[in-house]
């Protein structure tokens, strides 16, 4: 492997260099984490507003009118406000939470430590990535408050709705800000991906061969490769859309489009072009959100089952297979878009093939638990929950991946249920598992276990109660993104389900208070953590707690073995650390 000279720097002294414009990967990881936590709370509140409207579309909320006078005229939630919430909830959750926390947050903090490096390959670039992401978040939030309202085109932002400002409320400055925010996010993610890839390939310590890397590192590395290839395409698409809106280019606007009686000049473009570019990014994005969670789950399952990963190599291969296939299936979002129906067949077959490596991963997680001596800590509960939810959300992909069945289910709540289970809450469970697991190393204190367990039980039951009924809505034909379904005869019978889901959503959201209380209480008052509280094997547990500047002492650790050497027969302890 490449010999890499790691230069050493003195720890910065001033508050600003140390905690604000820091180049230390650990500080940056924590900054990303708190950014994602903030974004998650904003996105959560938005989802509750969405649920309010769906359960009780005709109810008046004078208290909310006081906060959002335009969104709640006469106390009634306006459809454009509802759609803006749908759009912003999706955008915030996908980009600012699911892309940010697992990869940029935990990845930044733990990738260098787990491979035995003193920092990321490009620390200044790393700082830049965070601050561009932060700026992107600020711009996105600003879109909520501008004249004309927040954009309402959904997180997929399909033209011509998104490309022509006159198509209705929310399509003015708010839409431009949305695009600018996403473009900034793309740049930040691109820089981050370069950093992750270079760090992984060049900065592993002695003995840390690729196969000896923990699966969490494989998750971050694979994700970085995907991000490197996917984000530039979205960036290009975003710039073209911005030009369409402000320079009259018409890349995505065909000739002859007429909005409210006004012919749109220019034209010659194609709305399907946007969909191809968007989903070329958008489908891999699903894996960007879930692969770090898969890595963390594998890491945690092995730790607390006290066993090596079942089929370590197969796990690495499956992860890369998922990443690769993830680039060949974007068309399954477009079966009914007017795309060539023959091409749809190829996309459909490839989509179902992704089920194979996914099944391998599930099987190997079960194999890892099998014969284990499982310690049911809170991170372990969330990791097991991840497996359960990954299965529950994954299996319905077999339905949606089929061209003919997608005709029935496309753009119904069946899809909402499917992707929320797998890409939403399964990924969130990965984040929770990682938070409880790594908290002692990141903050030198441990989170409260009983509270963590209460949080798990409530959340695990809650997310199933919310998202399983969505499938019923979809089977009955309920389209997504409807501000009100009461106008349709065939949807009337479903009203009680909407009420049920809303109640479950509010209860599950309330359960997150247990997490927040636990998190912030533990941050200041939690029990002091030892260096290796979980009796784990990988390098992050070889460092002192709190982790010193540049992670290790004078000498970098030397790695002698595979990452998950638990319960090795004949060994003195039931775990052999990589660096011992």
């Amino acid at each position: 492997m490449a010999e890499h000279i790691q230069t050493s720097h003195a720890a910065p002294k001033g508050f600003i260099r140390k905690y604000i414009f820091s180049t230390d990967h650990k500080v940056i990881g924590i900054q990303y984490f708190f950014l994602a936590l903030t974004a998650a709370l904003v996105g959560l509140v938005m989802s509750l507003l969405i649920r309010l409207r769906l359960a009780w579309p005709a109810s008046r909320w004078p208290m909310l009118e006081a906060i959002f006078p335009d969104g709640f005229k006469d106390g009634l939630m306006q459809p454009e406000f509802y759609l803006a919430m749908v759009t912003m909830h999706g955008t915030i959750m996908v980009f600012m939470v699911l892309t940010t926390a697992p990869q940029s947050g935990f990845g930044n903090y733990f990738l260098p430590i787990q491979i035995g490096a003193r920092d990321m390959a490009f620390p200044v670039l790393n700082m830049l990535s965070f601050w561009i992401t932060f700026l992107s978040f600020v711009v996105l939030i600003a879109a909520l408050f501008v004249v004309g309202g927040a954009p309402l085109g959904g997180w997929t932002f399909y033209p011509t709705l998104s490309a022509i400002p006159s198509t209705g409320p929310g399509q003015a400055l708010g839409a431009d800000l949305w695009i600018v925010s996403i473009a900034l996010f793309c740049v930040a993610s691109l820089l981050g991906a370069l950093n992750f890839i270079t760090t992984t390939l060049n900065m592993r310590t002695h003995g840390m061969t690729l196969m000896r890397m923990p699966l969490s590192c494989w998750g971050w590395f694979t994700t970085a490769v995907i991000a490197l290839l996917a984000f530039p395409v979205l960036l290009a698409a975003g710039i073209l859309l911005l030009l369409d809106r402000n320079a009259g280019t018409g890349f995505f606007i065909p000739s002859g489009v007429s909005v409210s009686g006004n012919l749109i000049p220019g034209g010659g473009g194609s709305t399907l072009l946007w969909q191809h570019l968007f989903w070329f990014f958008g489908h891999p994005e699903v894996y960007i959100a879930i692969l770090p969670g898969m890595g963390a789950t594998s890491h945690i399952l092995a730790t607390f089952a006290r066993k090596p990963i079942f089929g370590h190599k197969a796990m690495v291969v499956a992860m890369f297979a998922i990443g690769l296939l993830g680039f060949l299936v974007w068309g399954h979002h477009m079966f009914i878009s007017g795309m060539n129906p023959k091409v749809a067949i190829a996309f459909s077959v490839l989509t179902l093939v992704i089920g194979v490596p996914s099944a391998v991963k599930t099987f190997n997680w079960l194999g890892t638990l099998w014969g284990g001596r499982i310690r049911f800590t809170t991170p372990m509960l969330f990791a097991i929950g991840f497996v359960s939810l990954f299965v529950a959300g994954g299996v319905t992909g077999l339905v949606l991946g089929q061209t003919a069945l997608d005709v029935v289910f496309h753009d119904t709540h069946f899809v909402t249920g499917h992707f929320h289970l797998i890409m939403g809450v399964a990924a969130i469970f990965g984040i929770f598992a990682a938070t409880y697991y790594w908290f002692p190393k990141m903050f030198a204190r441990t989170m409260n276990e009983p509270l963590g367990k209460v949080h798990f039980w409530l959340t695990f039951v809650g997310v199933y109660a919310i998202f399983i009924p969505f499938h019923i809505l979809g089977i009955a034909g309920h389209p997504r993104r409807y501000a009100d379904s009461t106008g349709y005869e065939f949807l009337r019978a479903l009203d009680p389900l909407h009420v049920f889901i809303t109640i479950a959503a509010f209860a599950t959201a309330a359960a997150q208070l247990v997490f927040l209380i636990n998190f912030f209480w533990s941050l200041f008052k939690g029990k002091r953590a030892s260096d290796n509280p979980w009796e784990a094997t990988t390098l992050e547990w070889s460092t002192p707690t709190p982790v010193p500047h540049e992670n290790f002492g004078e000498l970098l650790p030397i790695v002698h073995r595979m990452p998950y050497e638990y319960s090795v027969p004949g060994a003195e302890k039931d775990y052999l650390m990589q660096a011992e």
Binding site: T167, T396, T403, A404
Partner: protein, 288 residues
């Protein structure tokens, strides 16, 4: 309360694995029971199918749903079993096991065969819908989406649609005989004189219908749950689609692609009528 949770709930710790196993099994059983129950409730499952291709689609769904159910059930039960059985016991060591390549290969082979078979068998219905041409005697209807209305145009006695132009769109007059009207039918084109434009889709039963989907402003989606049919209507494209409705009645047409503020109100009716009634409707609605 907080103190209680903090200190007393730890009595659950030794049985955590059993609790989790029971919970996973309960969720699994509950989910399956919930689907079974929903199926018996009116309006909580597929609406009655009224198209010739729907039966094949529904049976493809049934096969897929069985595979989905088995995979879900099998994986969750196994997961529950693992956490029930393999909990920590004192200082006892786990069994050191790095995997089993043969089992992996068998798993890959089985899943690959099942999944690819599903993907391939599902294409027959798709091919019937999209790869085969509509028969020449199919009833032609042009469907146009516009924020937030549907327009349906029949070509009239000459079986030919009059030419249209976006420059001629006139939303102010959308009566059936209006020329150019909202669809911009060229008044100078004689084949457009007998075109019938309406906001309800009227079609004869048991006859192939050939739709041409268009959109004036943004992307819409023509969705009729009872027909098992959904297709985007895209600005700049003319998308063809054909089907045969098998039962008379009135059905709802929904827009299934987010098209703006009042997306949820973009509803129309589809009336499936006997051939005699259809002929009568055509003659009654022909522009004078």
């Amino acid at each position: 309360m907080f103190e209680f949770i903090l200190h007393r709930s730890s009595f659950l710790l030794p049985n955590m694995g059993r609790l989790l196993a029971i919970l996973i099994w309960l969720i699994t059983a509950g989910t399956i029971a919930f689907f079974a129950w929903a199926k018996t409730k009116s309006g909580w499952w597929f609406p009655e199918a009224i198209s010739t291709h729907a039966a094949a689609m529904d049976s493809q769904f049934k096969i897929t749903w069985i595979v989905v159910g088995l995979a879900f059930f099998g994986a969750q039960v196994a997961l529950g079993y693992a956490v029930w059985k393999f909990r920590a016991k004192g200082n006892e060591r786990a069994s050191y096991n790095e995997g089993n390549t043969r089992m992996e290969i068998v798993l890959v082979a089985i899943t690959a065969v099942v999944f690819i078979t599903l993907a391939v068998t599902g294409q027959r219905v798709w091919a019937g819908l999209h790869l085969n041409q509509a028969p020449p005697d199919a009833v032609q209807v042009e469907v146009t989406g516009q924020q937030f209305n549907w327009y349906f145009r029949h070509p009239g006695a000459d079986a030919r649609f009059g030419s249209t132009s976006p420059k001629l769109y006139n939303d102010a007059d959308n009566t059936a005989g209006a020329r150019p009207g909202p669809l911009g039918i060229d008044p100078k084109d004689p084949s457009g004189a007998d075109d019938i434009v309406g906001q309800t889709l009227v079609i004869p039963v048991n006859r192939p219908i050939s739709l041409t989907l268009r959109a004036k402003d943004v992307t819409h989606d023509f969705f009729v749950p009872a027909l098992r049919l959904k297709q985007d209507a895209v600005p700049g494209l003319k998308i063809n689609l054909h089907f045969t409705a098998t039962k008379e009645g009135r059905y709802e047409v929904a827009c299934a692609e987010l098209c703006g503020q009042l997306h949820h109100q973009m509803r129309a009716y589809m009336r499936v009528v006997s051939q005699a009634e259809f002929d009568k409707w055509l003659s009654e609605n022909a522009p004078k």
